[in-house]
Subunit: 345 residues, 2 copies
């Protein structure tokens, strides 16, 4: 291995370009207020020396880090297996890159990790945090809040106390669910079932509420509790079929569980969509497209949610702080969903 020789410093660049350190610094940071010929000279020196600013030294004086922590609580391993997270992380990564920020990933499982995360965030090592709090009773959000770091949550957190709402990005789970069920109704279905997601997550609760908004009043409820997995979807579908053999439509809380439902329906000889119409949620490719039959589903722009979280966070740091109270800024941003019609409903 090559010895990690000391990298060139500002000083070296300055010497080479025949200017002062201050001037080099100005050029490196945008070059405002430096005359063209000098800018050019400095640029060349930087190039020739392969100079890269020392982030530590810079942070020391600016108190900025150009780094954002992404905190993912994963009591279950599921978190990462779900394409949903992968996509969101992708969006986050891209947007962070566009802003020249680094992504510090913190996976947590259990109380010991919570303390560690809180300490890290409170330590002021990053400019902000993006937090995925999956479960309703998760103590993490409160802890993080107390750390006093700008934070944006992925998905509406369960903020039970009376404090002003935290910033978050979510999609319109309830509205999307309503649209899906309404579509089923429009198709003439009268025995519409719902396979829920894990009900300790707000998204699952919201989708269930959306289902109830449409169906609850009229038809009886046909709800089977599940957990966002395809195996769970299978179980739920079997249960539904056993309890209500006459079900003619199913709205599943996500594509994975819809997939499980599809498998059970096929297995039991029900035709989709003729006998039973099926709608999913997410529009995660290739899951939805490669399902047989291709899945009608509620699309959310997952990657965009990730990007938006970053914009909200980075726009907020410095900007919102300086301009005044956050009273005017919305607590949460809800992205719209769209129903994607394929063959299953």
């Amino acid at each position: 291995m090559t010895e990690a020789v000391s990298r060139p410093t500002l000083e070296a660049v300055a010497a080479r370009a025949g200017v002062s350190r201050a001037t080099v610094s100005r050029v490196v940071n945008g070059g405002d207020g430096v005359r063209e010929p000098l800018v050019e000279r400095v640029r060349r020196a930087v190039e020739e020396l392969g100079y890269v600013p020392n982030q530590a030294a810079r942070s020391l004086v600016t108190k900025r880090h150009d780094a954002v922590a992404v905190v993912i609580a994963e009591p279950e391993a599921r978190v990462f297996t779900d394409p949903f997270f992968a996509l969101q992380l992708r969006g986050i990564s891209k947007e962070l890159t566009a802003h020249d920020n680094q992504l510090v990933l913190m996976l947590t499982e259990g109380r010991a990790d919570h303390a560690r995360v809180a300490r890290y965030l409170a330590g002021g090592h990053v400019d902000g945090a993006l937090v995925f709090s999956l479960h309703l009773d998760d103590p993490l959000p409160a802890l993080i809040r107390s750390a006093g770091v700008p934070t944006v949550f992925g998905g509406r957190p369960d903020w039970s106390d009376g404090t002003p709402g935290p910033l978050y990005v979510d999609s319109d789970n309830r509205g999307g669910a309503r649209e899906a069920v309404r579509h089923l109704v429009a198709l003439g279905r009268t025995r519409i079932a719902h396979i829920t997601g894990a009900l300790d997550q707000t998204s699952a609760v919201d989708r269930l509420d959306g289902y109830r908004d449409v169906v609850g009043g009229g038809a009886a409820e046909l709800v089977a509790e599940s957990d966002f997995t395809s195996a769970g979807g299978e179980r739920a579908m079997r249960e539904l079929l056993a309890r209500h053999p006459d079900v003619d439509a199913v709205f599943a809380a996500n594509d994975l569980s819809a997939l499980g439902a599809l498998r059970v329906l096929r297995e039991q000889g029900r035709r989709v969509p003729e006998d039973v119409a099926v709608i999913g949620f997410d529009d995660v490719l290739p899951v939805a497209e490669e399902a047989r039959p291709p899945l009608t589903t509620v699309r959310q722009d997952i990657e965009e949610m990730g990007r938006l979280m970053v914009r909200l966070l980075l726009g907020g740091t410095g900007r919102a702080r300086a301009d005044g109270p956050a009273a005017e800024s919305p607590a949460g941003v809800i992205l719209p969903t769209t129903l994607i019609r394929r063959a299953s409903a």
Copy 2:
């Protein structure tokens, strides 16, 4: 939001404890060579003030960052959807935490990102890099190597040039494949097919080689090229069945494609394992366990691979460098695999 008030410094702690900054520094960094009563006083002051060391200031002088970059090239989105990565990342995260290191995640897609990653690594912002280079023709490994940062690869990289081998962690793909196929042979199967992984990855190639080690000489080859996905597994199985209706065993390159094969077999009325025995690779739960029938598969300890990568990297930084040439240290660490017998073979 609370204003991010300036955190207490060493100076403040020193004042409060009535000692010098140096003493506080010693205590904070382990407390060697400081007398007990003083240690105690300092500890209390740290506690009371809620002092957290400023990492930037520390890095500036130590030239260490206690941070490691994890670089994942993901030309396809598949990367994250595969539980394999999730697990490995988990192992990495845990081990990094145990070493008090941060995980800087860098997702790349395309040449522009390569340059960015190379620049970042060369910039000396992290103590090392863990790199997942998925594809044989990936230019990333070479780029990273030129950055001169301690690096460990996940999976054997395709190091075609003659330079001394890079550090990497992989499991015994070839040996594991051999064991699987031998098991099939021991079961009396004579028409053993193989569904490959994406052949632009060394793991897929190695598993194919292992299959050939056992089958290649005797029976004719029954190979269908695929891509590690369940949809790909379905396609491959269909193809195999069409070309060789008499196949009586299938070794799939991973659990996901085995799952696809299982689906097609069931669909076409073949009993597993009576008519066709099936073996997967990975032992990714719950995939393997919840398959019907439960999948016999080659287990690799994925999380441990992640942990090992970290140990190799962190052990290497400073240790190997100081002790002398890396001649003695192995280029790669190959973890053993074990065949897990369930119902499918």
